[in-house]
């Protein structure tokens, strides 16, 4: 692929840029016309060969979206998004839908290989039994392949693209889609309802412990293309599933929009562990380009004693607007949120969580670590609330910010609402700087400035790192080091 090679060479020449995933794949794509209208919504639905009820759902969302305003309460500063300058649908031409691995365009496989994502079942099977990871790969607007489906199906687990699920499991979709994040939840989620193109669907039947990690890798390749993915995970009674999502995009001068919706449903005694390593292109050193990441992620602990745990490592995107939340509806249910958010250059992050305590004896834990370097702004925004029926609700929140240099900002905005007197909510917050003393001490032992910063930051985020699946811990540590390159001096 000469074009890819050329791109890589170009990328290498701009040695100021450290973004490792900034290459582009030269592949023919099938696109909708630019812009957004009812016709585009119909176009997307028709492309996906969707049933009539799904199109109605989308059109309804689109009409509602037209009446809504873009939220402006976040501590983010960006020019108004022109929704008519975006392609809402782009699919690699050779891949009309997910297929078996042998049928996937080799160029696509090569792309994922370069990203370090195992799409070959053989290669993984040859390794340790316990290390298997099933992957759903989403390229621009469509899922290109989902691995290990047959093996998972043996336990009754459904792991496929959401487009397939709409056609093959309409009852589950009708029952659960939009049941956690309502159609009109917010501006971006409503937009997503109208134009979502693909994403992953997971269903864990009663009593099953998912035998391997499930993951989805999202890749935005096309220029001016928005990615609107939709993920739905349903864990029936007495189940466990661990799910990981990763995201990357090529380096481009213009901003690209990513507005996803993720819904999790945990029934009685079910546990869902959802981890994200978000490394969308953050823009260059001057703040040009980068992904606008407006994401709605919410889990519903619908059954008693259910548990949902969010772990996120946010290092990419020019703008991040993201609050993975838990509705603790079932009695004794538990929500957890562990976050590492790193901003460098001109990145802006406004991220946090919402823990909504509705049931009795519900508990939640929030550990958020924000690291700001360069000229970036890093805000933690979190809501902890207890309904008047949420007797004995408990929350512990710890929010730590670390500043590197004196041109960046860290902000902590907690909202705490307790509507009954049996609630115990604790909130701890710290803001610190890497001290000159720490730097000198590390340097005296032989570490250079960047190595010293990386070591100190890795120590700072350790409480959160240990909640990531083993396979991704090392990768994340490396990612942290790369994200902070050029942050000192």
């Amino acid at each position: 692929m000469p074009a890819v090679k050329e791109t890589i060479d170009q990328v290498k020449e701009i040695d100021l840029e450290k973004y490792k995933y900034g290459f582009e794949t030269d592949i023919k794509s099938d696109k909708a016309p630019k812009g957004l209208s009812e016709d585009i919504v119909r176009f997307i639905s028709a492309k996906k060969d969707e049933p009539e009820w799904m199109l109605e759902w989308r059109l309804d969302a689109y009409k509602r979206w037209l009446t809504m305003d873009e939220p402006d309460w976040a501590k983010l500063d960006y020019p108004k998004i022109d929704f008519n300058d975006i392609y809402f649908y782009s699919a690699p031409k050779s891949t009309p839908g997910p297929k078996s691995l042998d049928e996937v365009d080799p160029d696509l496989l090569e792309t994922y290989k370069k990203l370090g994502i195992p799409l070959s079942e053989q290669a993984v099977l040859a390794g340790v039994e316990g290390a298997k990871i099933a992957v759903d790969a989403v390229f621009d607007s469509v899922s290109v392949v989902t691995t290990f489906r047959e093996e998972l199906a043996k336990s009754g687990i459904i792991f496929c693209s959401i487009s397939e699920a709409i056609k093959e499991h309409p009852d589950l979709i009708k029952k659960y889609l939009g049941s956690v994040v309502p159609v009109t939840d917010n501006y971006y989620s409503t937009l997503n309802c109208a134009v979502f193109t693909d994403g992953s669907f997971v269903y864990i039947p009663k009593g099953v412990r998912c035998p391997m990690e499930l993951s989805t890798y999202f890749r935005i390749n096309e220029k001016n293309t928005g990615q609107f993915e939709r993920t739905l995970i349903i864990a029936e009674e007495d189940t466990y599933v661990s799910y990981l999502e990763g995201c990357t995009a090529p380096m481009r001068d213009e901003n690209q929009l990513h507005a996803a919706v993720v819904e999790l449903v945990a029934l009685e005694n079910a546990e869902i562990k959802y981890s994200t390593v978000q490394n969308w292109y953050p823009g260059n050193k001057e703040g040009v380009g980068g992904i606008y990441n407006f994401v709605t992620k919410r889990g519903d602990c619908r059954g008693d004693n259910s548990k949902i745990s969010w772990t996120q490592v946010e290092t990419g995107s020019a703008i991040t607007w993201k609050y993975p939340s838990c509705i603790l509806r079932g009695d004794g249910s538990r929500g957890e949120f562990y976050s590492i958010a790193i901003s460098n250059g001109y990145q802006q992050i406004d991220s946090g969580t919402k823990m909504i305590h509705l049931g009795k004896n519900t508990s939640s834990k929030v550990i958020a670590k924000g690291i700001a370097a360069g000229f970036s702004d890093n805000t933690y925004r979190g809501l902890i609330s207890a309904h008047k029926k949420a007797k004995n609700a408990r929350n512990f929140t710890q929010c730590d910010s670390l500043l590197i240099g004196d041109k960046c900002g860290a902000h902590t905005i907690p909202y705490i609402e307790a509507k009954n007197s049996s609630v115990i909510f604790e909130h701890e917050a710290t803001t610190s700087k890497i001290s000159d003393e720490q730097m000198f001490y590390c340097q005296q032992r032989g570490l250079n400035e960047e190595e010293a910063v990386a070591l100190i930051v890795n120590g700072f985020v350790r409480d959160v790192l240990q909640h990531l699946p083993m396979e991704f811990m090392v990768e994340t540590q490396k990612l942290i080091n790369i994200s902070l390159e050029g942050s000192v001096g």
Binding site: S435, D436, E437, Q438, F440, Y441, C442, Q443, Q444, R445, G446, L447, N448, E449, E451, A452, L455, I456, N458, G459, F460, V461, R462, D463
Partner: protein, 249 residues
């Protein structure tokens, strides 16, 4: 071998070091004694390259190379080690992790290969045993919640593993009880070597009962005012520093 030539250092236009001259040949241990505020600690920081000090004149030469233009980490890789009076806490970084990072950073800077994990573990275990450091302490975050004695032992452990050519001990005896002092001194003595020079900076003579110096220097008002053998330390303990104030002024 270390040589300091006519070193003048100022902080915010105030001259702290006023012409320090010092030669420490290979394998020797020298002690610098002086009262608080005489500039002893400044000398150790300037040697290690801490920022905030203006060097107005002079040179510090380690094995024939003037190290004053080098970054602190470059000086460390060149073989200079400073045992801190107040070792710094590194939260969340296990002592073991820190040791490995430091050793490999220095090896990398010298163009050597990284240590294998088994080799690293072997070296750490050996050195830790000598300093009566248990496994639990190695797993704790470096210096976080360490007692005074643990902090100083951790410093000597780092020194043992990094194998420097020139070691500077800044008030290493401060905050140590008698048992900790014994363990730390044993550690230092075990690291005496024909190819390693040491500079012990201290306020009290006590430490020099354990670490016997070849030469003792008296530091007053920003420079060395008298040098002699180890008996000079005893004399100082008896008569105090006041007698030198005059000659320095």
């Amino acid at each position: 071998m270390l040589e300091i030539r006519d070193l003048h250092v100022s902080v915010e236009d105030k001259e702290i070091l006023k012409g320090v001259n010092l030669v420490i040949p290979k394998g020797e241990i020298h002690a610098i004694m002086g009262r608080n505020g005489s500039g002893k600690s400044t000398l150790s920081y300037v040697m290690a390259g801490k920022s905030g000090y203006e060097i107005t004149k002079g040179e510090i030469i380690l094995d024939g190379v003037n190290i004053l233009d080098m970054e602190p980490n470059e000086r460390a890789s060149a073989g200079l080690f400073l045992a801190f009076q107040y070792p710094i806490e590194i939260p969340g970084v296990a002592t073991m992790t820190f040791l490995k990072a430091a050793m490999n950073a220095q090896r990398k800077a010298r163009g050597e290969e990284e240590l294998s994990t088994p080799d690293f573990m072997r070296e750490v275990k050996q050195a830790a045993k000598m300093l009566e450091i248990d496994n639990k302490m190695l797993k704790r975050a470096l210096n976080v919640g360490f007692s005074g004695g643990e902090k100083k032992r951790a410093e000597i452990l780092q020194m043992a593993l990094l194998k420097p050519k020139m070691c500077v001990f800044d008030e290493t005896d401060s905050g140590l009880d008698i048992d900790a002092l014994r363990i730390v001194s044993q550690g230092v003595n075990a690291l005496r070597d024909a190819n390693r020079s040491m500079l012990v900076i201290t306020h009290y003579q006590r430490l020099l009962n354990y670490i016997i110096p070849d030469v003792v220097h008296v530091f007053s008002n920003g420079k060395i005012v008298k040098s002699g053998d180890k008996s000079l330390a005893l004399e100082l303990e008896e008569k105090g520093y006041a007698q030198y104030d005059e000659s320095a002024a």
